[in-house]
């Protein structure tokens, strides 16, 4: 999974991929956002300094979820009116991606899902609305206007900043989570479950002074 090396076209620093198929990465040194074409990298922008979110997760953290090993290879950071959250890009041993959402120590592991039926449009959703998916009834808990503020590491797509975007968070009565991401049309659906860090058998966590 590791070992693919190239260099930053902006500053020349060595870039080592944790995930060989990464489409986008960010140079750790000059914060250039780099989109990859085979081994050639093109600078498409510069990421702001990713605010040091207070997570024990970091690039390179390894864990296990539903009997599959994963490694954290990238991250998207979002900000909304009253705070921010991270979506950690996890590459699983079966070569799929998952996203570990990390909001103030609330964690949800989710995966992209194909909606059973078309999702409600962004100007037609409000908390309390319901939609079915996978035999469960999801209830919209909140709609958050958020913007993408930074990136780190490797992503499976070239992320284009798009200003304030609605995110609708839903929960099922069985306790599962879903997020409708309105950054694209049609909207994207992610379905997952709340997790506690201790369930994920994490290794290579960040350390905290005094803890």
């Amino acid at each position: 999974m590791t070992g693919v090396q190239t260099s930053c076209p902006n500053c020349g620093a060595t870039i080592e991929f944790r995930w060989a198929q990464a489409v986008q990465t960010t140079c750790e040194y000059c914060r250039s956002v780099l989109v990859r074409h085979d081994l050639d990298l093109t600078k498409v922008g510069t990421s702001t300094v990713v605010p040091l979110t207070p997570s024990p997760i970091q690039l390179g953290t390894e864990g296990r979820w539903h009997d599959r090993d994963f490694v954290v290879v990238g991250r998207l950071v979002y900000r909304w009116e009253r705070g921010g959250w991270s979506e950690w890009h996890c590459r699983f041993s079966d070569d799929t991606s998952g996203w570990l959402s990390d909001a103030q120590a609330d964690y949800v592991m989710s995966r992209p899902a194909t909606p059973d039926r078309p999702l409600p449009s962004s100007d037609d959703v409000s908390p309390g609305d319901t939609f079915p998916h996978g035999g469960e009834r999801f209830v919209l808990a909140s709609i958050t206007m958020a913007s993408y503020v930074g990136t780190e590491g490797e992503l499976p797509f070239a992320y284009a900043p798009s200003g304030l975007v609605p995110f609708a968070d839903a929960r099922s009565t069985a306790g599962n989570f879903a997020t409708i991401d309105y950054s694209e049309t049609p909207p994207l659906l992610f379905v997952g479950e709340p997790v506690e860090l201790r369930q994920l058998e994490l290794r290579n966590l960040r350390t905290f002074e005094g803890w």
Binding site: P51, L52, T53, P54, P56, Q58, R82, G83, G84, Q104, A105, D106, P127, V139, A141, S142, R171, S172, T173, A174, G175, F177, P194, E196, L197, R198, L205, R206, T207, F208, E209, G210, W211
Partner: protein, 440 residues
């Protein structure tokens, strides 16, 4: 990578140094010196709110910065707020402590009148419903009954919060109870968040966070305080049923064996029309042993459409005490207009109470019809026959404990619900009568 460093800032309002305990988790922080609320989420620390003196500075029972081991993990106390609800013009205030662990996130402790709850966020949506008309919320197979809907205002805060706290923030709180648990929904215009509290003793918390000063002792009954007799009435009634069955079996056995010890028996034949059979005679002396107790005399006779009168005088051989008793054994039966009937019995029991021990004999005098068939008779004297009254008393004694615990358990539930939106309209609590119709 290097360890995440602790972070400090200076209050832009008063200049005091503030050490952040929750690293970059802190979104807002209340300055300990000037009580201004600050935006801790960016480097330029803006003052969100200066302190308006609406209440005296509150002192947390657990000092901010205390670290304790709770439910197996270390936790720091990083935030403190006082929240208030107003019911019928009366303000009720409780305290909330925010606990933090960088690997475990957040949890809360709340205190009201010495009652404590350990609270975690519920990551899901409980299902609403109702049971016998009472609104409920069900979460993970437990059904909680709605206790109270109120409007809670943050009236004082200290320390750090992972959200933009403002003094004056108002949320609608719906508390649902299934003791020892409390399921609460906090609603704002934007979202509904659910939390699950568990009633815990203040002493456990005090020990966990090594607080030296005593906590206030609990007063009254709290919404989700476990009933100290929870489940006890059921256990008592189970025990009662088992003991009552055992008692019935014993009664049956005792009655089945006719009970008591045979002290004397005498029998003979009464020949109607034979004058000598009506002459009195005395029995052989017999001994009544043990302490003073009852004597049961059973007179039986093969009467059939006739009668036999048995006159008996118990005489104490040594003291001369005399006890007189006369009994009639009679039995009649027949068929009248196709219906069979019977009257009387071939056997008669008489109980004599408090007969002292000693040597006794009996003087017996029989009387009967002057014609008819011969009557075989037998008289038995039994000592210490158990009386049904004592069995009944035992039954009453058995039923007392379950009745008492049931009443006490119900009384506890009454005091619990008296504080809710669902207090029964009681005659001695007239100020409660309006609580259910105005909770805005």
């Amino acid at each position: 990578m290097t360890s995440v460093q602790a972070r400090g800032l200076n209050c832009p309002n008063c200049g005091a140094a503030i050490q952040l305990r929750s690293f970059q988790f802190a979104a807002s922080v209340v300055c300990d010196s000037c009580l201004a609320t600050l935006d801790a989420s960016d480097a330029n620390v803006a003052v969100l709110q200066t302190f308006e003196k609406t209440m005296a500075r509150a002192r947390p029972l657990i000092p901010l910065g205390s670290r304790g081991t709770w439910k197996g993990d270390p936790w720091d106390v990083i935030g403190f707020q006082v929240r208030q609800i107003t019911v019928d013009g009366i303000n009720y205030r409780w305290q909330e402590y925010l606990l933090f662990n960088p690997f475990r996130g957040f949890r809360y402790l709340s205190e009201y009148d010495g009652h404590w709850n350990d609270i975690i966020a519920v990551r899901g949506i409980p299902e609403g419903g109702s049971v016998s008309g009472h609104p409920t919320a069900t979460w993970r197979d437990t059904t909680f009954k709605l206790f109270q809907t109120s409007s809670a205002t943050t009236v004082f805060a200290l320390g750090e919060f992972p959200w933009m706290l403002n003094v004056g923030d108002v949320v609608t709180v719906k508390d649902h109870v299934a003791p020892p648990f409390l399921l609460s929904a906090e609603e704002t215009d934007e979202e509904v968040t659910w939390s699950l509290g568990e009633y815990v003793s203040g002493e456990r918390i005090r020990a966990a966070f090594k607080v030296t000063e005593p906590f206030p002792s609990a007063r009254g009954t709290f919404a989700n305080q476990p009933n100290p007799l929870a489940g006890t009435p059921a256990r008592y009634w189970q025990a009662f049923v088992m003991l009552a069955v055992a008692l019935l079996v014993l009664v049956g056995l005792r009655l089945g064996t006719a009970g008591g010890r045979l002290a004397s028996a005498v029998d003979g034949v009464f020949h109607p029309g034979v004058a000598t059979d009506k002459a009195p005679f005395v029995t052989d002396p017999f001994t009544l042993a043990g302490p003073t107790s009852n004597v049961v005399i059973t007179s039986s006779a093969t009467v059939d459409g006739s009668w036999l009168f048995v006159g008996m005088t118990l005489v104490n051989d040594s003291t001369g005490q005399v006890i007189d008793v006369g009994r009639e054994v009679s039995y009649y039966h027949g068929v009248d207009e196709g219906e069979s009937w019977s009257e009387g019995s071939r056997s008669d029991d008489v109980r004599l109470g408090a007969v002292p021990a000693g040597r006794w004999f009996m003087r017996i005098e029989l009387d009967g019809p002057d014609a008819g068939r011969d009557i075989d008779w037998r008289i038995e004297v039994r000592r210490d026959q158990p009386g049904l009254i004592w069995w009944f008393a035992a039954f009453v004694l058995l039923i007392v404990p379950p009745v008492i615990v049931s009443l006490r358990s119900a009384a506890f539930e009454t005091t619990r619900w008296a504080e809710s939106d669902f207090a029964p309209a009681s005659s001695d609590d007239s100020d409660d009568s309006s609580s259910s119709d105005s909770d805005d």
